[in-house]
């Protein structure tokens, strides 16, 4: 990492649900206070973690065979730049292109373009069965330091890929 300070301060791998999310938020809040962060920033980081973890809840595809290494994960690093958040989940091969295309599209947007796009999706978009509105990644990128989401895909098995997402807040 080019000699940059990077210290892992939180990591979770396993089944994801709101009860686990709440314990992540609780732990992170304490950790951030310990690190001397101010309440508005702690709120920003936790609200990003809410979106990330709920993306993992709603968009992780179940593996065909139960396999511990297929669980989603979320890791937070403290770096010179801020806080680097890293998530991993499994998605079906056929969803990969669409997701890549979407992230590339929003990665190219300016702050104002992201705001406008968010508004458009908020006011016109459809709500899915679990209440998702297609705004999760948009919300995350708007709160990221460089207005950028880094991603990678790696084959997990014949039908699925690991989706790695990372960004700094």
């Amino acid at each position: 990492m080019n000699g940059v300070m990077q210290k892992m301060i939180y990591s979770y791998e396993g089944e994801m649900n709101n009860a686990i999310l709440n314990s992540i938020l609780y732990a992170m809040e304490h950790k951030m206070v310990e690190l001397g962060e101010k309440p508005p920033f702690i709120k920003k980081l936790n609200s990003v973690l809410i979106e990330c973890c709920q993306n993992l809840i709603h968009h992780s595809d179940q593996p065909y065979e139960s396999n511990y290494s297929y669980y989603p994960s979320v890791t937070v690093y403290h770096t010179d730049e801020g806080y680097l958040i890293h998530t991993r989940n499994l998605i079906h091969n056929q969803k990969v292109e669409k997701l890549k295309h979407y992230i590339d599209k929003i990665n190219g947007m300016s702050k104002n373009e992201l705001k406008e796009y968010f508004q458009t999706v908020l006011t016109n978009g459809q709500i899915s069965a679990h209440g998702g509105g297609g705004l999760g990644l948009l919300n995350i990128i708007r709160k990221s330091k460089e207005l950028r989401l880094n991603y990678e895909f790696e084959p997990a098995n014949e039908d699925e890929m690991f989706f790695y997402l990372s960004f700094t807040v």
């Binding site: 999310l21 309440p39 809410i50 709920q54 908020l122 978009g125 679990h130 209440g131």
Partner: protein, 131 residues
């Protein structure tokens, strides 16, 4: 005319909701990041639709006082605001009060974004108490 109020107790991830026409209290307070926001917000939207469809002559001041809300709740908050707009369009005086903590620019901007979507008077109020 009395209308059956809706009271929902808060949890870690869902807000306290008070929709009480008789006492003129309409409030959303706390966090809103349920796993399934459709399940949480459907009864609230249904209550509001029925209330507004019954065309009561009632002024409405609604407080939105969130600590956190996720993006799927954001969609439902907009739906609630649109229903308040409908109520205003029927000739009632309406007011939205949107609270945010001092220095919480994300919550302030969220309020400003919503403010632009409706014509209901929309006050954005800074909370000076601590987080």
């Amino acid at each position: 005319m009395s209308y059956k109020p809706l009271y929902i107790n808060p949890t870690d991830e869902t807000p306290q909701v008070i929709l009480d026409p008789e006492n003129n209290r309409f409030e959303f307070v706390g966090n809103s990041y349920p796993e399934n926001s459709t399940k949480f917000y459907s009864p609230i939207l249904n209550w509001m639709k029925e209330f507004i469809d019954s065309s009561p002559k009632q002024d409405l001041s609604v407080d939105f006082n969130f600590d956190y809300f996720n993006t799927s709740s954001a969609k439902y908050i907009l739906e609630i605001l649109r229903l308040i707009q409908d109520h205003q369009d029927k000739g009632n005086k309406c007011l939205i009060r949107w609270y945010y903590f001092q220095d919480d620019t994300d919550m302030l901007e969220a309020g400003e974004d919503y403010q632009m979507t409706i014509t209901v008077p929309f006050e954005i109020i800074e909370r000076t108490d601590t987080f």
